[in-house]
Every structure is written in C-alpha cells, then in structure tokens.
C-alpha cells in the first residue's frame, strides 16, 4: 500500500517537474513561430534599427530602436539607483546591523517586494511625476527618470535578499582571519567580505536588472510612452514591455503589427535569457571555488 502511494506521488512530482520544462519549450516555440513570421515582411535589421514606430498606419512602420533605447535607458537608470543602495543595504543587514534592526529591515524589504507594481506605478504617477516636473522645471513629469526611480524600488528587494545571502555564505574563517591580522571592521568588509561575495552580488544585480527590464505596468503608467529616441533621462520614453501591453488589444490577429509584437516579445525573451544566464554563470563560478 505504502509502496503504491509512494510510486504515485513520485510520478506526480515527476510530471510537475517535467511540466514546467514542457511549458517553457512550448512558449518558446509559439514565440518563435509568431515572432519570426514578421521577418517575411521586413528584415530583422530594419526592425531593430528602424527609428519610427507607427504600427497602425498604412503601411505600418515597425522600427523598434526607440523602444529598445527606452527600455535600456530606464533599466540603466534603475540600475544606477538600486545597485549602490541595494548592495549597501545588504552589507548593513549582513555585517553591521544589530539583530533587532536586522529583523525590521528584512521584514520591510519583503514588504516592498509584496507591493504590486501597478500600485507603485499609480503612486509614482500622482506623487513622483509632479515632483520631477517642478524640480527640473520640465514640460511634463512623465519621464525616463520617474520610471527609473520607481523601478529601482522594484529591483531593490531582489538585490538585497540575494546579495545578503551571498554575504552570509562567506566562510566565517575569512572574517576571523582578517580581524586576527588587525583589520578594522570596515577594512574587513571592503577588502575581504565583499570581494569574496562578489560573484553572488553580481548575480543579485543581474537578477534585479532582469526584473526591471521585464516590468510593464509601472513603466507604462509613468514614462509617458513616447516612441522617440531619448537624449537624456528627463524625456519621455516608451519601453518594449509597455508597447506590447498597450497595443496587444488592438493588433488584428495575423497582421504585421501582431507579429511585430511577438517579435518584440522574442527580443525581450532573449534579453532576459542572457541576463539570467550571466547571473547563473556568476553563481556557479562561486560554487566551483
């Protein structure tokens, strides 16, 4: 009886395990099938380097360079803001903070991760964008900078929790050795613990960036969605994800526009695949040591 039960459970779990792989493969195949159909009509180079995005005109102009620039700019901004704060926060939690502060901080960061992105976007729309408008004296507050700041909030929990794990994983003997040689606490952190944990911290950063580049709702609400190549952080931008979300309802199934949205999806998939792969490489390099 017990054996049968065990057998069934084992197979069920196996099925679940395999299912996720099957789903990923099916999604990838579907994405490839729909996305690549676009390139019958226009060349891949033209698609990626075109500067005009007018998908519903006749004939449609499908150039996603402004969208790629928009996504990269917002992500870069979010990285510049969230990486130093996130890593510093992880160091403080792992090395400096007394345990009661540590508990409060960790709970706070988990709470930050639990805020739905649409809520963050809404808050950003009503508080942050008017602020940015008046501080920089801009014609509009819906800019790449607003998006970057909001996305930095979203990347922070990922970066802090993974970087903190990496810092904990540094063997205690390193720290003790550094203290024994007469190093101060700061010297130990800066010269010994951070370098030792660097692969894990890099992985944390990469995963945080992966989260940012795939984020949709908040950026759609606060970046203004103008499909123009931006020349600075204080301009409206349109990201790849926001384009898919905003336009999928309108695209006629089987039209060039529809295929173009899937091709954008394919490009996003490739970008996040590369980011996750890089993160994985760093993590495994750490294990091999």
């Amino acid at each position: 009886m017990r054996k049968i039960k065990e057998f069934i459970i084992e197979k069920l779990i196996l099925l679940c395990g395999v299912a996720s792989i099957i789903f990923v493969v099916l999604i990838l195949l579907f994405l490839l099938n729909e996305g690549l159909s676009l390139f019958k009509d226009i060349g891949p180079y033209e698609f990626v380097s075109g500067k005009k995005w007018y998908p519903i005109s006749e004939p449609p102009q499908l150039g996603i360079l402004p969208l790629i620039c928009g996504s990269l700019l917002v992500t870069l901004g979010a990285a510049i803001i969230s990486i130093p704060i996130g890593v510093a926060c992880a160091v403080y939690i792992a090395e400096v903070a007394p345990s009661w502060i540590k508990d409060i901080l960790k709970a706070g960061i988990e709470l930050l991760a639990a805020i739905p992105s649409v809520v963050l976007g809404f808050i950003g729309m009503v508080t942050l964008s008017p602020l940015i408008k008046s501080v920089f004296n801009l014609p509009t507050g819906l800019t790449a900078l607003s998006g970057s700041i909001m996305l930095a909030f979203m990347a922070m929990p990922t970066i802090v929790s993974i970087a903190e794990d990496a810092l904990y994983a540094v063997p205690k003997s390193y720290k003790e050795g550094a203290f024994a040689l007469g190093a101060t606490h700061w010297q130990t952190i800066w010269r010994v613990i951070l370098p030792a944990a660097s692969p894990g911290i890099l992985a944390a950063v990469m995963l945080g960036i992966g989260r940012v580049i795939g984020e949709t709702m908040a950026v759609m609400m606060i970046t203004g969605n103008a499909a123009k190549i931006p020349d600075g952080f204080l301009q409206p931008v349109r990201t790849l994800t926001a384009t898919i979300a905003a336009e999928m309802g309108e695209a006629v199934v089987g039209s060039e526009h529809y295929f173009a949205l899937f091709a954008i999806g394919l490009i996003l998939f490739i970008i996040s695949f590369i980011i996750n792969l890089t993160a994985d490489l760093f993590l495994h390099r750490k294990e091999r040591r």
């Binding site: 519903i56 014609p139 509009t140 103008a226 349109r238 309108e250 695209a251 006629v252």
Partner: protein, 304 residues
C-alpha cells in the same frame, strides 16, 4: 515550499478559468436561441469609449426582459472587431469604422460585418484652464499634434513648449483623431502624431495630466470634460466660427470633430441581437445616450 504550491495553484486556477471562459464565449449567443426572442445571452464587446453606454443599455434592456443575459466588456474598438471576426462576440461596439483589411479577414472566416450607427460623440480638445488659448483651427491642431507647431506663442499663447498628449494606438479615439484632424480626412495623407507625443492609456489619464500641466494639450470624448480642463473652441478654418464642443453643436453639425459611434453585427441581425439594437435606437435607448454624455443620432439618420 508552501509558497510555491500556492503560486502553482493560482496559476492553474487562472489557466482553468481562462480556458472555461473561452469555451462559453464560443457557445454563447448565436447557437443558443430557443424559446422567445428575448431569452438567451449576448456578448457585447469593444470600444472603451462606449463601454458605459453599452452597460447602461444592457441594464435597461435586462430590466425590461429579465430572461435575457447581456455581457458588456471593453478592450478597445480593435479588440471588439477582432472578436466579431473570430465569432466570440455577437455585437461589437466601435468608435471607428471597420478597416478594409478587417472586412476581408472577416469574409474569409465567413463573417459579414454590418454597421449600425447608434450615437454620436464630439471629441473635445482640451487644455489647462489657465492656458490663455481658447480658439484653434483644425490646421493649427494638425500642426500641434504632428509637431510642426511646438510653442504656444505660435498660436497666441504663452512662450512655452507644447506638451502633446494622445491616447494609445488601441483606442478608436486615437485613430479617429489621426484620420480626421491630422490627415483632415484625406486617405492618402501620411501625417502622423509627432513621435514625442505622450501616449496615455486612458481618457482619465489625459484628464489628470491636463489638470496638472499648464502646457499640455490633449483630446477625448466630450463626456470627460470637467472644471479642471478647458475645452478649446474649434473651427474648420480661420474664416469660420469657433465652436465649443457641446451637445447641440454636435447635433446641428457645427462642431467639426465629431464621430459616429457604431455597432457591428454578423449579417442581418435577428432574434435577441435585433431586439437589442432596436432598443438602442428607440426613444428610451437614445435617452440613455444623452444621459451618458453622448449625442443621440438624428431621427432622419436613424432610418438609414
């Protein structure tokens, strides 16, 4: 571990729900039409502009005929037309005319869309109440929205950059504004919104941004005008009268940017579909149109 199980359960539940939803969509409407003309269910789908109107009609209709079930959903005119083509809705609401391409796609699938005009909507061009500009011609509007005019002082306002707001491309309002203001109804025109125009995802978002930005200009259906925005008076050209977007000006045809609100059905309407459309065009239905801040269709146009 528990977190993962919980998450998986949610994903499965959602997939299941989506699957079932699709199934009942397909079987609803045409297939089930036994008994009286009022029993059965209808799927009405399409334009976000018309969702409130459609909902108001559905509620009034169901109050009169409790045996009928009418579901109204939005998503945009394009979404509605796509679902009419794929036969997942019975009536499609649209704030723009169906495109040639969509008709041929529909014919391929054995669907022949029929157009019924049920109301009119005036598109208001709006600015911040403190903006001194009150009158604009269609030419000036086209200049502003295509990016040829970039400073308010060129149209008689302050020396400040113009912030152009537009709806997203899934909006029938966006398409109508492009075709009738930017391109002035000329099908060969290649005018486009300037690439720097901010595309916002709802009429309410445009209303909010205008309310907080003295240099912004945007457009939406008349129903959204409030004290926090100032509608611009529009004229066809410099010699014509500048007209405010108001219900009487849309009815008498003086206001230059007004558009029809349409329903599309597959083939000649019959049964519940016909009853619903007749109701929408009746005196009672047109009163609801007025109540939801749209403009009723003229009696002589109703007969067309």
């Amino acid at each position: 571990m528990y977190k993962k199980i919980f998450f998986m359960a949610i994903v499965f539940g959602m997939a299941l729900y989506a699957g079932c939803g699709r199934g009942s969509d397909n079987s609803g409407g045409f297939a089930s039409n036994p008994g009286s003309a009022f029993s059965g269910s209808l799927q009405v789908k399409g334009s976000d502009t018309m969702v409130n109107l459609g909902q108001a009609w559905a509620e009034a209709f169901m109050k009169k005929h409790p045996e009928a079930g009418i579901a109204v959903t939005g998503g945009g005119s394009g979404t509605g037309i796509s679902s009419l083509i794929s036969n997942t809705c019975d009536i499609c609401m649209s704030s723009r005319n169906i495109k040639e391409k969509e008709i041929s796609l529909a014919n391929q699938k054995g669907v022949s869309p029929q157009e019924i005009k049920v109301a009119m909507d005036g598109l208001a061009v709006i600015v911040h109440p403190k903006n001194p500009v009150t009158n604009l011609t269609i030419d000036q509007l086209a200049g502003i929205f295509t990016g040829r005019i970039t400073n308010w002082k060129d149209v008689g306002g302050n020396n400040a950059a113009i912030v152009v707001l537009s709806r997203e491309v899934n909006s029938g309002t966006h398409v109508y504004f492009k075709e009738h203001v930017l391109r002035k109804g000329d099908p060969n025109s290649k005018e486009e919104f300037e690439p720097g125009a901010l595309l916002l995802s709802s009429s309410q978002a445009i209303a909010d941004e205008i309310a907080g930005n003295q240099n912004a200009i945007g457009y939406y259906g008349m129903g959204y005008i409030s004290e926090k925005q100032k509608p611009v008076h529009v004229s066809k050209d410099e010699k014509s009268e500048y007209v405010a977007p108001a219900i009487e000006n849309v009815i008498n045809g003086k206001y230059p940017i007004s558009r029809p609100l349409l329903l599309y059905v597959n083939g000649q309407p019959g049964g519940l579909v016909k009853e619903f459309i007749d109701f929408a065009l009746s005196k009672e239905g047109q009163d609801i149109v007025l109540k939801t801040d749209f403009v009723p269709v003229l009696p002589n146009e109703e007969k067309k």
